[in-house]
Amino acid sequence: MMGLRIFLPRDTTALALGAERVALVLDEEVQRRELTVDIVRNGSRGLFWLEPLLEIEQGGTRLAFGPMTATAVPGVLDALLSDPAGHPLYLGPTADISYLKTQQRLTFARAGTGDPLCLDNYIAQAGFAGLENALGLDSQEIVNAVTESGLRGRGGAAFPAGIKWQTVLDTPGEQKYIVCNADEGDSGTFADRLLMEADPYQLIEGMIIAGLAVGATQGYIYLRSEYPRAREILELAIARARAESYLGANIRGSGKAFQLELRIGAGAYICGEETSLLDSLEGKRGMVRVKPPLPAIAGLFGMPTVVNNVLTLAAVTTVLEKGGEYYRDYGTGRSRGTLAVQLAGNVLRGGLVELAYGATLRELVEDYAGGTYSGRPIRAIQVGGPLGAYLPESQWDTPLDYEAFAGIGAMLGHGGVVVFDDSVDMAAQARFAMEFCAVESCGKCTPCRIGSVRGVEVIDRLIAREAKEQNTALLLDLCDTMEAGSLCAMGGLTPYPVRSALQYFPEDFS
């Protein structure tokens, strides 16, 4: 049993499914059997339905077992010596699991392969190769590579990253900033969390590259407080990157500086909106700002600021490692590169699927998710978080592409796909959309602050079957006002789930 390595994830989902109990028994059994093994606590590969996913590496191949339970540990260790494939939890070589094998992983290629805090593991898998290239380029050349890649913001708005970076580069400022939006508040999304927990150095590397590209020497990661495990990992990763001089006054002896600080949010969904996030970072209430001025021109503390989502900054490492053209070759239309789809809600096989843009929703929910967890038929799919439309089956052949989704009055957003079976009450979902907006509105725009409260009341009247025609007309009128009269997506897009529920599932309102 020389050189045996066992991998057991310690990411939020694996822990939430009992990974620590598995780890405890594993330690006991390893000691009792006097095995020489190296137990690695890795990040997750994002195959969450198989968590805790235990992997045993033998002769260069990693064999997977899952979902593991504490009681199954002795049996798995026994089977390892005799007949691994005979064990009921045996899944075969990890690399051959079709859910994983068929993905096109660029950003998540390293996720789950090793200890997320091990710099050697990161570097052994091309970590910091993008940074190394960037250190040999001037600012404009780095921005050019990002522009050429066609990379668009992964947070939901899909704004071209190259244009944003160019604006910050071209705007004079005594102190520029890189702000990472890690306030991943949309229900059904966990890709940012997975990346931060499984491959935190990639985010750090992307932020350093962004700093070099625009001339910013200070970065902030604004992380939501609902992610305690990501916080622990990022704190350690930043400290280690600093100790190895990837961060600090002299990045790897280049003479270039980049400081990075982790800031924790305080439970406000609206702070995922970039201008509220900036206010929050400044120590204020997270109130949405009027644009213009764009944050790229007057952002944090009034200075030119890049605000990018976790996955946008992470993708930059691939762009700088392999070139803009390489990245652009993935995808379709104006949606270039890969999209991290997150399969969530009532799904049999929930998890992260990274694919080039262009796959259809149906392929995702049927081939990858395998239908519902409850075994009942799928009725509605909400794509793009709580501000995204609910789609009926007639829309599931829409390709995952920003423009295609906009074309059907929906949005791709951050790639969250939440599946509901036929027991869902769409009137209740529409009501929740308004209720959520009322709870989380920053309060700046009247249509959002008051309209959402009125929206709940009108939907309540519809649910009570009162004056259907008048209340429907009133609700649609309210949706128009919110869409047209709100500064940001919170008030402006809350009508999407409401309208789509009314349009596609009218039977739930009558």
Binding site: T13, A16, R263, L281, F432
Partner: protein
């Protein structure tokens, strides 16, 4: 405010008064140490950061995380968001409220548990999710929630 509390608040202020945009980290630090942000700490925080008391109060009241009274011994957050709704979070919410005898924001009479709503814990592939202090639990139904709460009781007893 007793002397110990005042000393803690003073040390938090000293740690963050020069930090750009330091009010949120300062409030987090106070709450981490005391379990809440005492309303009578607002004047000293405001003065140190050259803000008005209204501004500091405004920040505390804006964010769901900050509390101006101590929580119970444990904080239980039930996710109310869509991915969890899709697998029974609404029923779980009803069960939690009735079995604990409190609404969201309330603390049980024995001071053991504060119940809160949360909107997404990022564990949406294995819903419904709850957070009990800093531990997130997946696939939680009424039975599982009762077990988690019973385990707390055992640990305390």
């Amino acid at each position: 405010m007793d002397d110990d509390t005042a000393a803690i608040i003073t040390s938090c202020i000293e740690q963050y008064r020069e930090v750009p945009g330091g009010l949120l980290p300062l409030l987090h630090a106070v709450q981490d140490k005391l379990g809440f942000v005492p309303p009578d700490s607002v004047p000293s925080i405001a003065k140190a950061l050259q803000l008005s008391r209204a501004e500091v109060h405004g920040v505390i009241s804006f964010y769901h995380d900050f509390r101006d009274v101590p929580a119970g011994n444990h904080v239980l957050q039930i996710c109310r968001a869509e991915a969890c709704q899709a697998l029974g979070a609404r029923a779980l919410e009803v069960h939690a409220k009735s079995s604990l005898g409190v609404d969201f924001g309330g603390t049980t009479a024995d001071g053991a548990i504060t119940l809160e709503a949360v909107y997404c814990l990022g564990n949406c592939a294995c819903s419904p999710s709850v957070r009990l202090d800093d531990q997130i639990h997946a696939r939680v139904d009424a039975t599982r929630l009762d077990e988690l709460l019973a385990d707390l009781g055992d640990a305390a007893g």
